[in-house]
Amino acid sequence: MKKMLILGALMLGSTLSTAFAGSGPIKIVLPEEADLLEPCMATRSNIGRVIMENVSETMTELDVRGDKGLMPRLAEKWEQNADGSWRFHLRQGVKFSDGTGFDAKDVEHSFNRIMSDKNSCESRRYFGGMTITPTVVDDYTIDFKADPVQPILPLLMSLLTIVPEETPMEFVREPVGTGPYKLTEWTPGQQIVLTARDDYWGEKPEVTEATYLFRADPSVRAAMVQTGEADLSPSISQLDATNPATDFSYLDSETVYLRIDHNIEPLNDVRVRRALNLAIDRQAFLGTLVPEGALLATAIVPPPTLGWNPDVKVFPFDPDGAKKLLEEAKADGVKVDTPITIIARTANFPNVTEIMEAIQAQLQDVGFKIDLKFVEVAEHEQYYSKPFKEGRGPILVAAMHDNSKGDPSFSMFFKYDSEGTQSGFSDPKVDDLIKRASAAVGDERAKLWKELIAYLHDDVVADVLLFHMVGFSRVSERLDFTPTMATNGTLQLSEIKIK
């Protein structure tokens, strides 16, 4: 009897996926569970990784693997009308997973739904500061009129997930979409299963079924791929990435930096801000506390982003220069001896404690008085975002910013505009450049972003930019898949090939 029980348990517990060459089910292990599978929340990474473009599709899609730029998805093409509004021509013959057909009314409803006050749809944030009116022209044509005119409206449409017009305004727990997969099982705390649809409009993907598992510990995730309990873990720790056959690093879209609060002395003095930058030996972190493949940052957005400026050079490590600048400032009466506090977030990224301690030591070496304070996410948020506390001392907020969207507008306004929620200063030239760049198109747009990035780095010395981070992934040898900059927020099952 006992043997039978054990045998039964073994059979139940057998988690090895049966693989057929070229197609089959896979298991993916992620660090954080999706607490909600709501399409309008798919811009949040833990939710987007599961449903974005797998269950819920968008009208347009940004190519992060090649250089095709913005690609059609549910919209086949689009153009700007004479009045500045945008017209989208929709794909025909597309069906939602509940069997209903897709047309322009669904797009209109999807947009109205994210703007509704009956929910807290996260994708609404991309449409702040503008008024957008969708107008259905016919079943497969829709116009979006934006005030002020939005040159990147088609790019913004890569963030609007399309739901059927019957979807209630309140959050739903069972997403219905036009994507290649539908949700077939969700056991909260345990697993989510997506199954390929037979009636998908596009190419049939090789992955027939994807089971998502969630483990907070990176070494467990790595072990699961090693033992065959999972086929893919997009994020493992650098320490576990030891097998060249399955593990590799990729540039993710996270940028680590110290946000400077320019409002408080001595950080209101540009020499002091420059001294902060010169005092840090960024290169020394690479291959030690920060993974080798990471890049030294000169902008808040990583290199593949539009307008990233190759002419801006990383601050050299120059402790003598830093000391000199501090002395100059001191001679002019700037209180450079005031203790400055670095506020960092516990477990924000690997080695955050050691990295911040090293930075603290390097800053102290040139004469800064630096306190280091670690706080949890909720408290960190109070330092990071406005309204800032009255009566605060000089503060550097250590933070990590994610932009995999290909355009700096998703970062620049919030981080640097006078009205930006997380901006530590106010500069009319910066505001003007952001406004003009956001409204520009093509080469002009790239040029203005470049100008802004150089101005922020070289003249304003807006913050202490540190590293564009790399992630490590473990991919089973039976799969053919390379994570990209977008993998943090989107993990398209149709891009995964089975050997």
């Binding site: 029980l5 944030r125 702040g128 727990r173 907070a216 467990v220 309990e229 998703f410 929620t421």
Partner: protein, 315 residues
């Protein structure tokens, strides 16, 4: 609190009622404290919404979830809802908070019950045998083992266990749920610390009991060692042991955060930590209510066990 002598049915009810009132008072105090402290130390709107969300979006989020009302009004609403059995909805999961908590608590309860049963059996056996020949080889061995058990960090044991039993030997799944095999590693890891502690308590208490006059009398009468240990001495040595078992079980009922996190076990400990970090107030409060209730019931059982074990308490 020891129940009064003469456990008649009436006295029993009175005792339970008294305990319930005392627990209720502390529970209410706890809820009030958590309610206000959690709301004063973080804004769920800032945590639920992305950092880039506009002030308008945050305002609307607060409006939607009634977080704009004065704290006292929010509290009055909450108390009113709780009295009608409604513990509110999870901000993060858009589901009733009580459902979320009960789902997780069921896993935790099983984990705690199975682990504590195994721990109790094993610790009593090992502790008693060690005490019987105090200072002997078995005693020393069990002391070393229990000392290591009580002091070794569980996250380390958990990771090493996965490397050995799952990765190298491939005997057990690394983590997760789904089969009986998935329970083995989490239970084994959870077993270690309470086992180490309780063995020590059993041993100490048994040494005291074994040197008492009634044991000497029994020995003089020629009673077999086995019945001396397990019939005469053990019962008398159990009172302090039960207290410690209760403490250990209570900490398991609150959730074994580390074990749950590493093994991907969907228990209430990790749920509670995540909900606190995200200021998902309703889930935090529901989790506190549910676990506190469970601990209250367990303490009640322990008090009754005292009475059953010790006739001096009963009569």
């Amino acid at each position: 609190m020891i129940p009064p002598p003469g456990l008649s049915e009436g006295a029993m009810l009175k005792f339970v009622r008294k305990r319930a009132v005392a627990s209720l008072i502390s529970l209410v105090g706890l809820i009030v404290m958590v309610f206000f402290l959690s709301r004063l130390t973080g804004d769920p709107a800032a945590l639920f919404l992305p950092v880039e969300a506009s002030a308008e979006m945050k305002q609307q989020f607060r409006e939607l979830h009634g977080l704009n009302d004065p704290l006292l009004v929010q509290f009055a609403h909450y108390v009113g809802d709780v009295l009608t059995g409604d513990l509110g909805e999870s901000l993060r999961k858009a589901r009733p908070a009580l459902d979320v908590v009960l789902e997780a608590f069921t896993w935790t309860l099983w984990l705690a019950v199975i682990t504590m049963s195994l721990v109790t059996g094993a610790a009593i056996l090992v502790g008693s045998l060690a005490a019987f020949r105090a200072g002997g080889f078995f005693d020393r061995l069990s002391s070393i083992i229990s000392l290591i058990g009580a002091s070794v960090p569980d996250f380390w044991v958990a990771i090493v266990a996965i490397v050995v039993f799952s990765v190298n030997l491939a005997w057990l799944p690394t983590s997760g749920t789904g089969s009986l095999l998935h329970w083995i590693l989490p239970i084994a890891v959870l077993f270690i610390r309470p086992f180490g502690i309780i063995v020590q308590v059993v041993r100490g208490s048994m040494i005291g009991a074994l040197s008492s006059a009634y044991v000497k009398t029994a020995r003089a009468k020629g009673v077999k060692s086995r019945s001396i240990i397990f019939v005469h001495a053990l019962r008398n040595a159990m009172l302090p042991v039960i207290t410690v078992i209760g403490d250990q079980a209570a900490s398991l009922l609150n959730g074994a955060v580390i074990v749950e996190t590493i093994f991907g076990f969907p228990g209430v400990g990790k749920l509670m930590i995540d909900s606190i970090l995200q200021r998902d107030f309703n889930v935090v409060l529901a989790a506190i209510l549910v676990t506190a209730l469970a601990i209250f019931l367990m303490n009640l059982l322990i008090d009754l066990a005292y009475a059953l074990l010790d006739p001096r308490i009963r009569h």
